[in-house]
Amino acid sequence: MTILIGFVPTAAGEAALAAGLSEAVRSGEDVVILNSPRRGATVDADLIGEDVAEDLLARASAQGVVARVDHAEHGSDIVDTFEALVDRTNARLVVLGLRRRSPVGKLVLGSDAQRLLLELEVPVLAVKPAP
């Protein structure tokens, strides 16, 4: 069994990583860090580079957790990508970071986190960044 952490280089993503790692330490499971770029754009602000990825892996192994980084792309529906990876890695838990969105923001821009919370079949641990 593994724990799947959805990571983006923001405070919410950091919070998710921290929570996911401590959960993995507690249960002795492996971690898969999913940093998924959107298909199509040349640059994706959420995508992390090699150096950042290595840093994350170093942090994980410092806590004694076996981790790997996955960069599976997603199309218009991120839920599909998460579900596929959950199946492939036999994940029993998904950890996500939540960011504050106003109702208008949610209406216009949508909320990936909300859809993942509602549609994923495995339990989801939703973490908020420290204020």
């Binding site: 199509g40 218009s76 949508g110």
Partner: protein, 179 residues
């Protein structure tokens, strides 16, 4: 000794070219459908040939006149004959070129795009530009671009409104419009 001196200079130029060609080929592989085969080369050359022949025949009909007093058809006739000659040359030489691209499933996207263009052209004078433009945006974003419905609707509305403001209010260019 002299041979070895001669070899490096053109080799260096050709290795930059080779690097570049490899680079562009890699890009092409990533982004474009695979290369088409000889059928594509032959078919396209035949089309060019047909254009040339048709042009020559029609031009002949406009009257060639003489060099001293050229008729309306002389220049197009000469040009069309050159097209025919070059096309025949290409038929012989060009069968194994690799600069064509296959038609794949993504070519259907192009067909849909084309239909929306024609549709906009047809509907524009009838119901103004807003609705056909909106439809075009929706089709391109949702079906050709794989965007979510939310994203599609928001972007389409913003785009059409922006065009409305830009053309009709800002630049005051008359476009047929409904609202």
């Amino acid at each position: 000794m002299s041979e070895r001196d001669e070899r490096p200079a053109p080799a260096r130029r050709s290795d930059i070219l080779a690097e570049l060609e490899a680079e562009t080929a890699r890009e092409r592989e990533e982004h474009r459908p695979p290369a088409g085969g000889p059928a594509y080369q032959v078919a396209s050359t035949l089309v060019a040939l047909a254009v040339g022949v048709t042009g020559a025949v029609l031009a002949y009909g406009y009257g060639l006149g003489t060099l001293r007093r050229p008729g309306a058809g002389l220049w197009p006739f000469v040009i069309a004959v050159v097209v025919v000659i070059l096309s025949l040359l290409l038929l012989v030489l060009g069968r194994h070129l690799d600069d064509s691209e296959k038609f794949t499933r993504s070519s259907l996207l192009v067909l849909v795009g084309l239909v929306t263009f024609v549709g906009l052209g047809v509907l524009l004078p009838v119901i103004g530009f807003e609705i056909p433009a909106l439809l075009l945006c929706v089709i391109w974003l949702r079906f050709l671009g794989g965007e979510t419905w939310r994203s599609t609707i928001v972007i389409s509305l913003v785009t059409v409104t922006a065009f409305y403001l830009l053309f009709l209010v800002g630049l005051r260019i008359p476009l047929p419009h409904l609202f």
